[in-house]
Amino acid sequence: MSWGFLRDLLSGVNKYSTGIGRIWVALVFLFRLLLYIAAAENIWKDEHDEFECNVKQPGCENVCFDHFFPVSHIRLWALQLIMVSTPSLLVVFHVAYRENREKHHNQQLYKSPGRIDGGLLCTYLISLLLKAALEVVFLVLFYHLYNGFKVPPLVKCDLRPCPNAVDCYISKPTEKMIFLYFLVATSCLCIVLNLSELSYLICKHSIKCYLKRHIKKHQ
């Protein structure tokens, strides 16, 4: 079980999405998931082995690494990808529930189980809000854990058992910083897409409701 599962899940969601939703799925696949697997994972692969402190004291490197990287960037990134894709499951479950209901009653209860109206519209809007909220939460978490999105080449550590303050060098800081900025940019783009999709759906359905009421009044 690996990222293939997430890919299948997102492909399933694609069927019930709007146009903007499909762009979001494409963005998540290409610029986040594929980039993570093809490039980012390798950059952070040996981060602990290549973290070097200017001291021979055993245990000092371990303690300093743990202090400066409580949760590695790459793990936070993976968590973010998983959490942000999960709200789409709500939509998939709701459509499955509708299809089940139709089977159970043996008649057509909905125009089409995958059509975004009524209850499914609420579920879809909630999933969009959750996606945007989770993106923001992870960005804020990244920012607070690492004091911004910069990766310094050198950190000074004075925890026990390190004697005095010791220079510790992080491996590939520039490359890590570039990819972190990439992560932030794609997250922000995803938030913008989610909010645009939200506004689009709300406007579309408000106009529909208003026109229906207008027609009824005239009749």
Binding site: L30, K172, T174
Partner: protein
């Protein structure tokens, strides 16, 4: 999950491409993605571990490596491939949108053959021509930009055997040795050559499409 998903997405676009576009896709998959995954990744796999500096000063190696390789070749290539493949998605989205519109018209009562709709090959004319041409243009731009970035970042395409580093905390100037420089230079030149071929294919496709539309236009007026 890996480059396979990209292959599926682009494979879908293949149906609606010109012949030159199909050749471009084949070159992309065989000579770029496959070479990257099967060969280049192994060559660059141990790049930092085998980057050796003539000093015992802790931290010097890390700092020198970071200074000379701000972003590794292999990552730049992965980024280049992702960016260069993305414009093809525009075409895929346009085709999906056109198919969706035809289905909607069918549902509203217009007579359209459903079998024909499912297997339809959309000819590159009208709005699709503009989408397709813009996607080729963007591909060219991305290829050129990445080629330039490579040249600018690494002062050419040759991998030096030895780099002299005097960044702090290295004491004075220190000799640092890059691992497998010849093999890396070979692969860099190979990828550059294939990138050049892809650019030429894109240019040829662009000219072909423009000439085709001009010829059609002049036939209509005569």
């Amino acid at each position: 999950m890996d480059w396979g998903t990209l292959k599926e997405v682009l494979g879908g676009v293949n149906k609606h491409s010109t012949s030159i576009g199909k050749i471009w896709l084949t070159v992309l998959f065989i000579f770029r993605i496959m070479i990257l995954v099967v060969a280049a990744e192994r060559v660059w796999g141990d790049e930092q571990q085998d980057f050796v500096c003539n000093t015992l000063q802790p931290g010097c190696k890390n700092v020198c490596y970071d200074h000379f390789f701000p972003i590794s070749h292999i990552r730049l290539w992965a980024l280049q491939l992702i960016f260069v493949s993305t414009p093809a998605l525009l075409v895929a989205m346009h085709v999906a949108y056109t198919r969706h519109e035809k289905k909607r018209r069918f549902r509203n009562g217009e007579k359209i053959d459903i079998e024909e709709l499912k297997n339809a090959k959309f000819h590159i004319r009208g709005p699709l021509w503009w989408t397709y041409t813009s996607s080729i243009f963007f591909r060219l731009v991305f290829e050129a930009v990445f080629t330039y970035v490579f040249y600018y970042m690494y002062n050419g395409y040759q991998m030096p055997r030895l780099v002299k580093c005097n960044a702090w905390p290295c004491p004075n100037t220190v000799d640092c040795f890059v691992s497998r420089p010849t093999e890396k230079t070979t692969f860099t030149i190979f990828m550059l050559a294939v990138s050049g071929i892809c650019m030429m294919l894109n240019l040829a496709e662009l000219c072909y499409l423009v000439i085709k539309i001009c010829v059609k236009g002049s036939r209509k007026t005569t």
